[in-house]
Symmetry: C2
Subunit: 267 residues, 2 copies
C-alpha cells in the first residue's frame, strides 16, 4: 500500500522565522526511510481556527497518516487537541490513561518537591473522545492518536527530543507496516563544471531510457559559477530494494556515458 | 494595513527530508521584520497538480502576498510557472523582458564558450500572461510577479542566494510599503529551574494585565530537567515601535515581580 503522509507543524515561532522547522524535516526523513510518501507539509500559527481549518483540509485529502507536531503543552497557546476535537466533532474530556501518565511523570519529577496536579498540568490529559494516549517517557505531554475514518491522526509534542522519542516508540512501526516494504531508494552523483541548463536535456534522455528512475538535480550554487557543482540524485520507488538499486545503477551508468567530456565527476 | 503573507515552498527534497526548509524560515523572518504577518507555510512536491492545487487554495484565502520558492529552473521538474499559469488560467508564452534577461545572463557567462539559447534555457523565460519578470543578478532564472486580484504572487528561485537577492531587490520594498510601518516587536527573557507548567498560570495573568502583549514560552529542554531553561518571548504588534517597546517592558517587569523566588533569570 502507498502510505501517504501529511505533516502539520504548529507554532508562531515557525512563521516569524524565529525557529527553523527541523521537526518537519526530521519527520519527513524518518517517514520516507520507513517507506511512507510525504505529500505535503503545512505550518500554521497557534490559533484555534487556523489549526482546525488545516486539519479539516488535510483529512479531506485522506492521507493514511497525518502527523501533527506542536501545541500539546501546558500553556494557553497549546491548542492542538482542542482544535482537533472541534474540527472532528469529538468532545474533549480527561482521558484516564493520559491522566495517569501525566500524574506519574510529575511524581517521578518531584524529588521531594510538592508538584500538585494543577489545571495547566491536567490540561495535557484532556483529549478528544476516542483518542489514545501515547507514552512520552522523556517529557510530560503524552502523544495522541485518533483514528478518523481511514486516516490516523498522530499528535506529537513540539520539543524535538519528545517528538522523536514518541515517533520511534509508537509511530515508526505503523508507518513501516502500512507501507509493507515499499520504499524509496536513492543514490547521488556529483558533477562539477557544468551548467544545470546543460544537464536538463541529458536528464530527460536518461529518464526516458530508464523508466521509473527519477533524476533530480540539486544545483550546489548558482548557474555559471566556474566551480559550480550539481548533485544528481537518482531515485526509484519500489518494494524490491535490490531491483531498485539495479535500476538506479543502470541509469547512472547511462548518464556517465552521455556526459560531455569536460565534466568532472566527484562521485 | 495588515500585510498577510503566505509562503509556498516547492521541492521533493523538502518532503523526503533531504533538505531543511531554510528558504521558508528566511522568507518568514525577513517578511516579519518588514511588518508582514506570515499566516501559513505550505510545502508540496514537484508535481503539476499538487502545485496548482496549493496555489488555488492559497489564493482563495486572499493573502496580500503569496511568496513561492523553487521550480523556476531549466529541468523537467521545474514546473512552478506552468502550474501558476494553469491554475490562474493565464496562458504561458515567452516573455520578452525575461528572455532578454536570460540571453544577457548567458552572454555574460560565456567567456568565449558557445552558450546557445537552448530549449532548457528558453524555458526560464516562459511566463504566464500578465506576469512581470524580476531581475536575477546572481543567477539565471528571473523571478516572477503576477497580480491576481488583490493578491500579489511572487515566484523566487529555490537556490538560497538567488531567492534572497531577488527578495531584497524587488520584494522587500513592497512588503514594507504595504505594511505601512506596522510591525512585530519582541523581547525575550530566559528563566531557568522552573517547569513550563508552573509558568502557564503566570503567563495567563500577565497577559490579562497587559492587553496586546503576547507571551510565548519556548521550553529549551523537556519539562523537569534540573537545568531546564525556558525562553519567554514577549511580543507586541503595532505601528508605533516606541509604544510597543514600552508595553513589552511593562509586561516583563510585571512577570519578574510575580515569578516565585527560586527561578534564576539569565536575561
Amino acid at each position: 500500500m502507498l502510505c501517504t503522509i501529511e505533516i502539520l507543524t504548529i507554532g508562531n515561532e515557525l512563521l516569524t522565522g524565529k525557529t527553523v522547522n527541523t521537526n518537519a524535516t526530521w519527520l519527513a526523513k524518518r517517514a520516507t526511510s520507513l517507506g511512507g510518501l510525504v505529500a505535503r507539509v503545512t505550518t500554521v500559527r497557534d490559533n484555534l481556527t487556523a489549526i482546525g481549518t488545516a486539519i479539516r483540509e488535510i483529512l479531506k485529502r485522506k492521507p493514511v497518516i497525518l502527523l501533527i507536531s506542536g501545541g500539546l503543552g501546558p500553556t494557553f497557546d497549546d491548542m492542538t487537541l482542542q482544535a482537533l476535537g472541534n474540527t472532528t466533532k469529538r468532545p474533549l474530556s480527561v482521558n484516564k490513561i493520559a491522566l495517569s501518565m501525566v500524574k506519574q511523570k510529575y511524581r517521578s519529577l518531584a524529588h521531594g518537591r510538592r508538584l500538585p496536579l494543577t489545571k495547566a498540568r491536567r490540561k495535557m490529559a484532556i483529549l478528544p473522545k476516542g483518542a489514545e494516549a501515547l507514552p512520552n517517557l522523556v517529557g510530560t505531554a503524552p502523544g495522541v492518536l485518533l483514528q478518523m475514518g481511514k486516516s490516523t491522526v498522530i499528535c506529537l509534542p513540539g520539543v524535538p527530543s519528545e517528538l522523536r522519542h514518541i515517533f520511534e516508540t509508537s509511530v515508526s512501526g505503523l508507518v513501516s507496516s502500512w507501507s509493507a516494504g515499499f520504499g524509496r531508494n536513492s543514490k547521488s552523483v556529483h558533477i562539477s563544471g557544468v551548467f544545470e541548463s546543460e544537464m536538463a536535456p541529458l536528464i530527460d534522455r536518461v529518464m526516458r531510457r530508464n523508466p521509473g528512475v527519477y533524476i533530480k538535480s540539486h544545483p550546489g550554487s548558482r548557474e555559471g559559477r566556474t566551480r559550480s557543482k550539481i548533485e544528481l540524485e537518482f531515485s526509484f520507488e519500489s518494494s524490491e530494494p535490490l531491483n531498485a538499486q539495479k535500476e538506479i545503477d543502470c541509469a547512472i551508468a547511462d548518464m556517465l556515458q552521455i556526459l560531455p567530456g569536460r565534466e568532472k565527476i566527484v562521485k
